[in-house]
Symmetry: C2
Subunit: 553 residues, 2 copies
């Protein structure tokens, strides 16, 4: 059966029953249909019980097909629930663009899924649309501003605020707008990103209240004056209107797993260009209401987990009690040089060669002082010898490894992992932060490159070096940094697999995300607007006269 078929055959509980499981009454939620709701209780209220545990799920460097991190996460949530632990999973909401592009949603898989999966993968509760509207309303207000008196002398050539759509549309990457004559706008080169890459998405995911949301929106730098002075949304006076457009989107969404574990699915910033974690509001809500909150960050420990720990955790006021690293036989063979189309074949040599990748991710998490459990996510093609090899190598590294079967068996296939996670989360730990925000931009970059990526150092281009100085002069030097990098390698070269060491990271350009509160460092060629493949998933979809969908995933 496909994921969609499994989901369509499942029975959901009414969302008010799911809410009741975590102590939320009907007045605490706003239903969106029968099986989705926004949590209307103010998430910022209440102080989480310090005994409530936060579990972070991350992974090794993946293959292009992904390693089932969400699937293991959902299975872990269900397994904890089955062990009578009051559990909430807190994950990102999917971007719709890729749903129409490459096959594959973002709601787990097999018997470890969140529901209603069709809704969640399509419009859900409208958060992505609200972000699109807010982002583009700001863009329209900016273009209208330069068309009119332009009192702050915003330079049309130096506007950095782009428009967004939640669609894979390569034709919008580079555009000229404002054509058609004097009354049609100011012609300028600009472009569109996918909505998940909007700074507003990052802001929504880091804001701790409506007031904080508005403050962050005010701080957004939309461009520079012709004298190169940064111009913010607050200076233009647009922050209230943009906040109004996001006042519902900031409320966390409640859904459920196939096994009826409450799932808070909220926010989905890109894990390369932004920090890649679900919202602080969602995770905070989980921590308030449940004994165990299981959350994720995008891609591997080098991308998502690093950003979770260095960017999100300070806003959350809490670091994880345990970290799960999802590894697969296939991805480790891929990291060991096995060809992409031969990953189903047993190859112990390739696996052995790829193992240092997993060990590097383990070391990364341990560096932060956090307990690690490795989840070896089982695929049908795995051989026992391969599974044994990984398990032994991890145990030799003094780390626990558990084989999970979340896709085929749901929570039942993830109980052993849950038991180890419970043990790990009871460990006393001291969080060991990677850098101090007061360090220079270069020092912070080097801290990530040497201590997380395992490389030599960050090499800044002339432009990036000039920007580092400018940004420091502008008072932005104290912000954490967010490195935009390929997810396929610990380095900035997607072909450098395993656990490379003798490499530098080339920082091409810095981008100020002052509203979100970090500086993005661009490495390699990171696309912020995906394209559609030769045969988009859209052409294989079907809907019948009763509205039943086939071929969505």
């Amino acid at each position: 059966m496909t994921d969609l078929e499994i989901a369509q055959q499942a029975t959901m509980k009414p969302i008010k029953d799911i809410a009741a499981q975590i102590g939320l009454g009907e007045d605490d939620i706003e239903p969106y249909g029968k099986y989705k709701a926004k949590i209307s209780t103010k998430f910022e209220h209440g102080t989480p019980d310090p005994n409530h545990k936060l579990i972070l799920v991350t992974s090794i460097n993946p293959t292009p097909a992904g390693e089932g991190k969400s699937t293991v996460l959902v299975g872990l949530g269900d397994a904890l629930s089955s062990l009578d632990k009051k559990t909430i999973i807190a994950i990102r909401e999917p971007s719709m663009g890729p749903v129409m592009g490459m096959k594959g949603g973002a709601t787990g898989g097999g018997y470890s899924q969140v529901m209603p999966m069709e809704d969640i993968n399509l419009h859900f509760t409208g958060d992505m649309s609200a972000l699109t509207s807010a982002n583009n309303t700001l863009a329209a207000l900016i273009d209208n501003y330069i068309q009119r008196d332009n009192e702050l002398d915003l330079d049309p050539k130096r506007i950095i605020w782009k428009r967004v759509l939640d669609i894979n549309d390569r034709a919008l990457r580079n555009t000229i707008t404002g054509l058609g004559g004097i009354s049609q706008g100011v012609p300028r080169e600009t472009g569109f990103d996918i909505t998940a890459a909007s700074e507003l998405m990052a802001i929504l995911c880091l804001a701790t209240s409506i007031a904080d949301l508005k403050t962050r929106i005010s701080r957004i730098v939309v461009g520079y004056s012709s004298k190169r002075e940064p111009i913010t949304v607050g200076q233009l006076g647009f922050e209230d209107a943009i906040t109004i457009l996001l006042k519902d989107a900031i409320k966390p969404n409640l859904a459920q797993t196939l096994a009826h574990t409450p799932a808070i699915i909220h926010g989905g910033p890109f894990a390369n260009i932004a920090h890649g974690c679900n919202s602080v509001a969602a995770t905070m809500t989980g921590l308030n209401l449940a004994d165990y909150t299981v959350t994720e960050s995008g891609f591997g420990s080098d991308l998502g987990a690093e950003k979770f720990l260095d960017i999100k955790a300070p806003q959350l006021g809490k670091t994880p009690n345990a970290v799960v690293i999802v590894a697969t036989v296939r991805a480790l063979k891929y990291n060991g040089g096995q060809a992409k189309d031969a990953l189903q074949e047993e190859n112990l040599d390739a696996l052995k060669t790829g193992m240092p990748n997993l060990l590097r991710h383990i070391a990364n998490i341990k560096r932060y002082g956090l307990p690690v459990v490795v989840a070896i996510n089982h695929f049908v093609s795995d051989t026992q010898a391969e599974l044994d090899l990984i398990k032994k190598a991890v145990e030799a590294d003094d780390t626990t490894a558990v084989i999970t079967d979340s896709w085929a068996k749901g929570g039942e296939g993830t109980v052993a992992l849950a038991e180890e996670v419970i043990k790990a989360a009871d460990t006393d730990t001291t969080f060991n932060k990677l850098y101090d925000n007061k360090d220079s931009i270069e020092d912070k970059l080097n801290a990530v490159v040497t201590n997380v990526y395992g490389g030599r150092k960050a090499i800044l281009s002339k432009k990036a070096a000039r920007q580092a100085k400018q940004f420091t002069d502008l008072g932005w030097g104290n912000l954490p940094i967010c490195i935009a990098k390929t997810q396929y390698s610990l380095s900035d070269d997607p072909k450098l697999l395993g656990a490379p060491t003798d490499f530098d990271i080339d920082v091409r350009e810095l981008v100020p995300k002052i509203g979100a509160g970090f500086i993005v460092a661009l490495t390699g060629n990171i696309l912020t607007m995906p394209g559609l493949p030769k045969v988009p998933a859209a052409v294989n979809m079907h809907i019948d006269d009763d509205g039943k969908i086939e071929g969505l995933f």
Copy 2:
């Protein structure tokens, strides 16, 4: 008090109670928050009781500030309810773009409003966003198609499908997309419309089922091959994906008035470029469930009502039992030549000069064989002499006129109108259609120009004449026509006020909307993407730390 303040102080009933009033159980609706719902019962099922009455509200040619048509409509619904008639109002949903631009929502006003007004004027249940996503996913699929093999030889210079946003953004009217080199798309000139102008909006509002929705989407002509052959969505194979994106948007939305009359608020196509009526699904649902369904069409009888009667009614299978024409002292003085900034001053001469405008609209409706009631919508600045003058002139024309005070007094101020409407709707009538779809495009255009606008004839430009022949050869000659024209005049010249006679209508260009099922005839300079004013409404909005909004309208 402002409209927003009145709305914020009102008490709403839970939406399930409103649903219960019209016989819908909890399984028939999908709540969106506590006070909004989608009606999930299949709207196409059931045959309306022929005794159920349909009331259409239209108006004279308005001033730029509008004449309170929605306000009278809401008041009429509440008045009918207060007279123990089971009533549903079925109106359009607002476009968000103008909300951020010019002051003014689209949910009625004063004590005749629909609620929750903030939600309805902002994201509501996500229909506009779903349309934006569907429209732009289709655009991305088309651009991807020409970037790839392009087997049907779709000519990049002849693509007529544009992108849309629900934002007033003049800088997007004329754009070049696909820049940046060979892998970034095919560069071409294109642009964005506002979402309400998308053909998908017109389709959503005319479709009678999911199957009909998909059929109409298949028929959309997206452009032409280099041999000038039309290429449809169906030929490209994208219809299922686009239908999937609209499967929830097609369900009518339920809300309520301040007096708790059920309000179905669904669909909002532009009344100039498209047919300007709320959805067939919504009106059909009203007719199924209520004794009186009060609905609207955009602008005056020359624009909205003509299109309601010639385009929507055939899909609905029902014509109105009575038509209300909303007139105001101000707008008639404006039509009589009074300056825009002096409309508050009494001027009986200007009023007398403007009266023929109202008489022309009355004649238009009577031509269709429908009973008319004129609602003189009372404004504070009106004098008794002015009100009397209109009433007498209408009565001299053998038509009933009633003064309404819907803004200040809600349903109570509209009871006299309701009583006359009830009487009028009990009249036996024979609908007298304006043209036969089998008539030629030119004949249909002339039928509207002579019999509705009161002009001489339609003059087709060379281009339009060539298109009329092409479209007829392509088999599109049997479709109704939809004239895109200014709302300020019965002619195509916004400055020709009153009831002009010696004018022709210049048809500049024809646009095939084969999915919607009509041919648009462009006259004058109709903008399909509004711009923002010098001081956008957005800059005067405020949201406090608790999420309470001020200055929205």
